[in-house]
């Protein structure tokens, strides 16, 4: 269990999140993927703090947790708004504004 392993894991999770982000059609599924990516970031924070010392990593993790939660809250509010105006939370429906 070395730092490089954890980093590899975190990177993998991050890329899975990115994949999810690009393919999911449902707005909420996208939020999930973003959640996944943020979680990978937290993992790196903790790993760095644990393997390279210093408490700032964990502090950063907590803060990042808080920020991501706030984002999700706003995200859900927007999804509800989207639903209310487009009758469905499918992302590709909302594309009047273009070109």
């Amino acid at each position: 269990m070395t730092l490089s392993h954890v980093l590899m894991l975190a990177s993998a999770l991050f890329c899975v999140g990115v994949y999810g982000l690009l393919t999911r059609r449902q707005a909420i599924a996208i939020l999930l993927s973003v959640e996944l990516m943020a979680n990978a970031a937290n993992l790196v924070f903790i790993a760095m703090s644990r393997f390279r010392g210093g408490v700032t990593g964990q502090v950063f993790a907590l803060f990042s947790l808080a920020i991501t939660v706030a984002e999700v809250a706003v995200g859900l509010a927007l999804v509800i708004l989207l639903y209310r105006s487009h009758a469905d939370t499918r992302v590709d429906l909302a594309s009047e504004l273009k070109q």
């Binding site: 982000l21 690009l22 992302v91 590709d92 594309s95 273009k98």
Partner: protein, 607 residues
């Protein structure tokens, strides 16, 4: 500021002031008659000054010169303007002012049925012309001469185009200007070469042979244009569209002679270029013959006189080409007088008969005795009948040409003398003797005093000028003696023979059958070959080139610029669809950006 310089300045500036007054004071010009008075006053004063200047020259042969820097000042003066008084300019000044005054007086009568504004405009142009000619004559260097040269060209354009309502007059005016302007390019280039080689525009410097030849050849190109020598003579016959006094003044006596004057003035340069001189000799002789042949077949009295001027100018150029400055210049002077006389006489005849065609005239001698005698005296002088001025000056020319270039020019000029006498005889007999051919000719009557006065005045020098050869030569400072040797004898014999033949052919009224050789020449002349060459050149080369370049500019060069604009907008339009409006695509863009950055950070060149 010696007195001669003062006289020269007066001679130069009085017509200028007259022209300026007439140009600015529109009410003065509008009323007509007062404008004529102002103009004539100007030329009279200038004539007086010229005469005093000439008489003063008789006993003082120092050159007087007043020069003021025109471009640049002090050490860095490039060009100067001013006045240069010496034998050549003094005598030319007299000739010009005298003929100009006579013509202007003659015009009072000739133009009196023009509307007042046109009448005023006519005399303004005349005053302007006299100023420009004087500017040319008293020029201290060739640059001012060039200035006068071009101004004279413009006044000729304005005067030829006086009847601008007539499309033919308009075309003739423009044609005259274009041909002379084309030729003037030679003078401009010559000036540039002269200045580059010698640093001044004067005619004194000695140049290396090749440069001298170049300068003189370029000057000669301008002379060919202005004095209507062979290739560029096409504009002179058309210039007859202008009023006859104009033809008399400009296209007979003074303006066309400017070319000859240039050669005389710049004689020191021409002396350094023998090659140019031989070319002049050849071309002068050729033009003389060619013009004389064409004059034979003309039925319009002014066209005949125009071609005869062309031919006489050929004589002068030949004389200068043969190296005798005096010959050319003396012939120029006498020619100015009798050709002006001929034109004015023709003018009064036309005025009476209202037509230029000699066939419409006939038998005018009885009704217009003074005009007839004036015309006859002029014709005899032109033909070189001994005793009149023509004889002496033409003889001088023949004498100088004798023995040069294997005597070919000499023979040609002899033949031309014969032809000249013949066609002048034809005109005299057809127009003034025999029966009046139309009712207008029948009751033509002598023109008023304002028109016959100048005729008399001009008759005097036509007859007398010959004898003043010696004084004329002394003013020039050249040796001159007259011997009635073999040359002059044959020339006058040929002259008389010409007149006799003319009497034989046309003596009793216009003969139906035109002699074979003249008919053949007539057919050749009708083809207007030379004119057609120029017209073809203009239409097919210049206009086609112009349209081509205009097309290129509007559709190719401009097109390229528009293409840039079009390209930018098209680029924008092509890029537009990538903004699909789908949120995932935006996120994809973000991710791609990040991936790009990541690849750069890991594998980038910074490591």
């Amino acid at each position: 500021m010696t007195p001669p310089v003062l006289y020269a300045l007066v001679a130069l500036w009085t017509p200028a002031i007259a022209a300026l007054l007439l140009a600015i004071l529109y009410p003065l010009r509008k009323k007509g008659q007062p404008a004529a008075v102002v103009a004539i006053l100007g030329s009279l004063v200038s004539l007086g000054a010229a005469i005093t200047l000439f008489t003063d020259r008789l006993h003082d042969d120092a050159t007087h010169r007043l020069v003021v820097p025109w471009i640049g000042s002090g050490a860095s003066t490039i060009a100067e303007v001013g006045v240069h008084v010496d034998g050549v300019s003094a005598s030319m000044l007299v000739v010009v002012t005298l003929v100009a005054t006579c013509v202007q007086v003659f015009s009072i009568g000739y133009m009196h049925d023009e509307p007042p504004e046109a009448y005023g405009r006519y005399f303004t142009y005349h005053a302007l012309f006299l100023f420009s000619m004087n500017l040319l004559v008293v020029a201290p260097n060739i640059l001012q001469l060039f200035a006068g040269w071009e101004l004279v060209g413009v006044t000729s354009y304005l005067l030829i185009g006086f009847y601008f309502k007539k499309p033919s007059a308009a075309r003739a005016a423009v044609k005259a200007f274009w041909v002379t302007k084309f030729a003037d390019m030679g003078l401009l280039f010559g000036l540039l070469v002269l200045f580059a080689a010698s640093g001044t525009f004067g005619w004194e410097p000695t140049l290396s042979p090749p440069v001298a030849t170049a300068v003189t050849l370029l000057f000669f190109l301008a002379v060919v244009g202005k004095s209507a020598q062979f290739p560029l003579h096409v504009w002179l016959p058309d210039a007859m569209e202008g009023p006859t006094p104009v033809s008399a003044l400009l296209h007979a006596a003074t303006m066309v002679a400017a070319g000859v004057f240039l050669v005389v003035r710049a004689n020191p340069l021409f002396e350094q270029a023998p090659i140019t001189r031989s070319i002049m000799l050849g071309l002068g002789a050729a033009t003389a013959l060619f013009a004389a042949l064409l004059a034979l077949v003309q039925t319009d009295i002014k066209k005949t006189l125009a071609y005869s001027t062309c031919s006489q100018l050929g004589y002068m150029v030949a004389a200068l080409g043969a190296g005798s400055m005096l010959g050319g210049f003396f012939h120029l002077t006498t020619h100015a007088f009798f050709k002006a006389l001929l034109f004015l006489a023709a003018g009064s005849a036309i005025h009476a008969v209202h037509s230029n065609e000699i066939t419409d005239m006939g038998g005018l001698a009885k009704r217009m005795p003074l005009t007839a005698t004036a015309f006859s005296v002029g014709a005899l002088a032109l033909a070189g009948v001994p005793g009149l001025s023509g004889f002496f000056s033409k003889d001088l020319v023949l004498e100088s040409v004798e023995g040069k270039l294997g005597n070919v020019p000499y023979a040609v000029l002899m033949l031309t003398a014969f032809l000249t006498a013949f066609y002048m005889g034809k005109v005299v007999f057809v127009a003034f003797f025999g029966k009046p051919s139309g009712e207008k000719a029948a009751h033509a009557h002598e023109s008023g005093p304002s028109m016959s006065g100048p005729l008399v005045v001009l008759m005097v020098p036509t007859v007398v000028a010959g004898y003043f050869g010696a004084t004329f030569a002394k003013v020039q400072g050249e040796p001159y003696h007259f011997a009635f040797g073999a040359g002059p004898a044959t020339a006058s014999a040929l002259g008389l023979a010409g007149i006799g033949l003319a009497y034989a052919v046309y003596g009793r009224g216009p003969r139906a059958a035109v002699p074979a050789p003249i008919a053949m020449i007539d057919r050749v002349a009708k083809t207007r070959a030379v004119n057609r060459v120029y017209e073809w050149g203009f239409r097919n080369v210049t206009l086609v080139l112009a349209d081509g370049l205009a097309f290129i500019d509007r559709y190719v060069v401009d097109g390229l610029i528009n293409l840039l604009g079009w390209g930018a907008i098209e680029g924008g339009r092509k890029l537009r669809p990538i903004q699909t409006g789908l949120a995932p695509d935006y996120v994809l863009a973000v991710v791609l950006g990040v991936v790009g950055l990541a690849v750069w950070a890991v594998f980038g060149s910074w490591r």
